[in-house]
Amino acid sequence: MAAEMEATETGGLAGEMEVEAYRRLFPLAFLERHLRESVRPDARRTDEARPITVALGAVSSAHGSALVRLGDTAMLASIKLEVMSPSYEAPDEGSVGLFAVDFPCICVAPFQVIWLIYSCVAWYSAAVEFHMPPICSPVVRPGRPAEVAPVISKTLEDILMSSGMLNLKELCLISGKASWLAYLDVYCLNADGSLFDAALISAVAAFTHLEIPLVSVGDDGRVFTVGGNEGKIKYEVVNREKRKITVTNIPFSLTCALHKDNILADPTAEEESIIETSMTVVLDSSDQIVSIQKFGGAVTSMATIKDCISLAKDRRKKLRGILSVEAMEVDSHSSDSVN
């Protein structure tokens, strides 16, 4: 690599070669030339993150859903509510996403076996599912899930639980008898870097948009939805007032790629493929650190870690407007009755 670096230094090789070919052939050199002028290939400053747009109620067949675009990365989160009998220890608490994995085909590729064992452990504790369908990136092939998907599912689930954002007591219907179970599925529609940040924002937005359907209990003990506008209601509506769940101290995350003492906030897929080390800082609404994740890669000094945390802090300030505003704004067509 070093030899070819000198060649580009003198501008011999890069001069005539077309930029696109150069970008493909020598990606690291291409990036480093940009970083020397502290600018990035997509014309952002090193500490600048991509714009975020949030649209609520993207899926009409779900109780709560949100489509989030972080630059080009697009995430679609959807929550479906189902009724379950609460566990013995926590009679008055619902839970999020008890995900039962049943694998249709018996002979599984070795990787899927690990995923099967891993998911059995998560089976009984609340687990959230992060899907990477084959449409989102050239790396993913149908039939074999991407390696990074279970990792993101696990971290997403830990943070949603540990940040105390949700008060599971609000998911209870009749204490000890029936409570809500929220299946949270996050689909990555376009994978262009910092998937975890976009996934977390979309999950949070979906929960703010969540609307619990009006239900009442039938005589056989089974809960059923009431049409909402039906005149005669045989059975009294159980949860007339508990329709929206309160979302407190919203967690927010920022991923930074670390490359030789410069920090790239919110890397794109191309940058992520070049730079191995990256660090994710998760803060909650009162700027306390919820979690810091750094999976191996090059060693970094404490100073860099502090810089990342401060970067995350001011990024959260800028975005507080978006996260709280959309919490109030209920999208118009999400209120039609969901059967």
């Binding site: 379950m84 009984y124 369908p133 084959p134 376009n190 359907p213």
Partner: protein
């Protein structure tokens, strides 16, 4: 932690089943008998749902398209000619690899989100006739479709959206493929059925058509049809496909004008 909590989940809509069935029964009877009974969403029998199509939702793919017909939402991304799987044997013409999968929340009852083998095979047959396979020998073009929401006549919309994505990816094709399906209720034929109408149809017919070359690449039909009914159903589908194809062409024109 007791395990009882997990197995007993059910979606609470069970009670409405009884009433919903009578309403469906009544809908079917009306559609079968009188000719001018308006459909649930106010369309006449020969009206398609408003088609919203757009290219390029996924930048990671070499070509992609998003289609929304009423409640049916589909994303297709095409990964340009790339080397095929190790297990594949040598072939001097290109290969098309299609895969259709549903999200867990696509259907009202929570599905598994598994791949739909039948639709993948049908998508492959519909597109095979239109793609110039000999222009990318020894390689494979991957066409992956994800149904975000299933609102009725999913396969035709997947086929039209896939051919738009292929065009967006710059894959050589003889012609764009558009596809429309009709449902038959008694002697009436309704076009572009929604999932409620599809659940109660007496028969259905789907045509995948290349308007410029006037060739049908895929035709499937179920239920009882007489000869005459087939001919005018296929004619109905073909001119609906031609109109849909003009919409596709406009999308490609604005996409390219946007690109400059």
């Amino acid at each position: 932690m007791s395990a009882a909590a997990t197995t007993g989940t059910y979606s609470p809509a069970a009670s409405a089943g009884e009433k919903r069935r009578e309403r469906k029964e009544e809908l079917r009877r009306h559609l079968a008998e009188d000719a001018d009974w308006p459909r649930a969403d106010g369309r006449s029998f020969h009206d398609c749902r408003p088609a919203f199509m757009q290219t390029g939702p996924t930048t990671a793919a070499s070509g992609s398209a998003y289609a929304e017909f009423g409640k049916t939402k589909v994303i297709v991304s095409v990964f340009g000619p790339r080397e095929s799987k190790k297990t594949m044997m040598y072939s001097d013409t290109g290969r098309l690899n299609c895969n259709v999968s549903y999200t867990t929340f696509a259907t009202p009852i929570r599905g598994q989100g598994t791949d739909n083998k039948e639709y993948s095979a049908m998508l492959h047959k519909a597109l095979e006739g239109a793609v110039m396979l000999h222009t990318f020998p020894k390689t494979t073009v991957d066409v992956f479709a994800l149904v975000l929401e299933s609102g009725g006549s999913d396969l035709p919309i997947i086929i039209s959206c896939a051919s738009l994505a292929l065009a967006d990816a710059g894959i050589m094709m003889y012609d764009l493929v558009t596809s429309v399906s009709v449902s038959c209720f008694g002697k009436n034929i309704i076009i572009d059925p929604t999932s409620d109408e599809e659940a109660w149809q007496d028969g259905s017919l789907m045509v995948a058509y290349m308007p410029a070359r006037k060739e049908i690449t895929q035709l499937t039909l179920t239920g009882e049809w007489s000869d005459g009914k087939i001919t005018n159903a296929v004619e109905l589908c073909m001119d609906a496909c031609t109109k849909l194809c003009d919409i596709l062409r406009e999308r490609l024109k604005d996409a390219s004008s946007l690109a400059e």
